[in-house]
Amino acid sequence: LKPLGLGIGWRPELAAAIERREDLGFVELMAESLDPLDPLPRRVRALKKRGVKIVLHSTMLSLGGAEPLARHRVERLAALADRTGATLVSDHVCFVRAGGVESGHLLPITHDEDGLAALVENVEAATRVLPVPLALENIASFIRLPGATMSEPQLFTRLFRGTRALLLLDLANLWANALNLGFDPVAWLEEMPLHRLAYVHLAGGLQRGALYHDTHAHPLPRGPLELLGMLARRMPVPGAMLERDDHFPGERELHAELDAIAKEAA
């Protein structure tokens, strides 16, 4: 996979500010916001014409779900990847539904042999259908499910040993989890299988009471940026992007956050 460079999650509210950013290597599109039968938004087509790469980001595959993988969801994502000319697709190591209930949220899986086996099976099944590589993201979570027999980096290491998946490293999620669950993010990073790194997510959050919330709706704090800088000193970072989903900032603030990401990733 060729390096992606600097990126951002494309949202209609940010389209004009994104368009005026000439150093973007890629934009990430939310798969659930697109219809495989519709044409791409005009402004995304214009970016593509400029050579900006497309990455499709999904939140609905439930790859960590122990119930059977919803094949129609993978096929829809595959059709979207074809339609958009995506370089890469990504989703999360999590589950989002069980017993007929859709949580609407990325929920943690148990880090044990059963959880790993279901995850590997699902990822392999999805990879067979998808026309481009699949990258998998570490989620933010306030909780760890009981019964873990391995750490999260160990789970990713074994997942990558059993599949061809790549890593979408979310440093904001790592930062949030380190604060909320009380562990050392640097030691976590050192244990991760970074040789599969495809790209990095960064986003803002907010402290509410005792917990840090990864909101994607507040300014980017220094913590995740410092982790990015540390990562870049250790290895080339193939891609790094900003996610902003709500309370959209003005163009100057948005571009300043992109500048900070570009600086740390260099």
Partner: protein
């Protein structure tokens, strides 16, 4: 069999989160509450999106309303 065990654990956790009495072995109650609040916030945001685009997102509106109903019924006093 092990996959079915894992599926059962996930169903039990999700049930405790959105439909049951709000407790799950090995998970602190206040963390479950925080997670529930996040689900509510996301549902509210999605609802705003669904009402803004009713023709395209009727399923989303129905899902959001269902989830909010379940979450609010479990936070009512017994």
């Amino acid at each position: 069999v092990s996959r079915e065990d894992a599926a059962q654990r996930q169903r039990a956790f999700l049930h405790a989160l959105v439909e049951d009495d709000g407790l799950h072995d090995g998970v602190a109650a206040e963390r479950l509450t925080a997670l529930r609040e996040t689900l509510q916030r996301k549902a509210t945001r999605r609802a705003a999106h669904a009402y803004a685009h009713p023709a395209r997102t009727g399923w989303l509106r129905r899902w959001v309303e269902g989830l909010r109903r379940r979450l609010s019924s479990r936070s009512r006093p017994a």
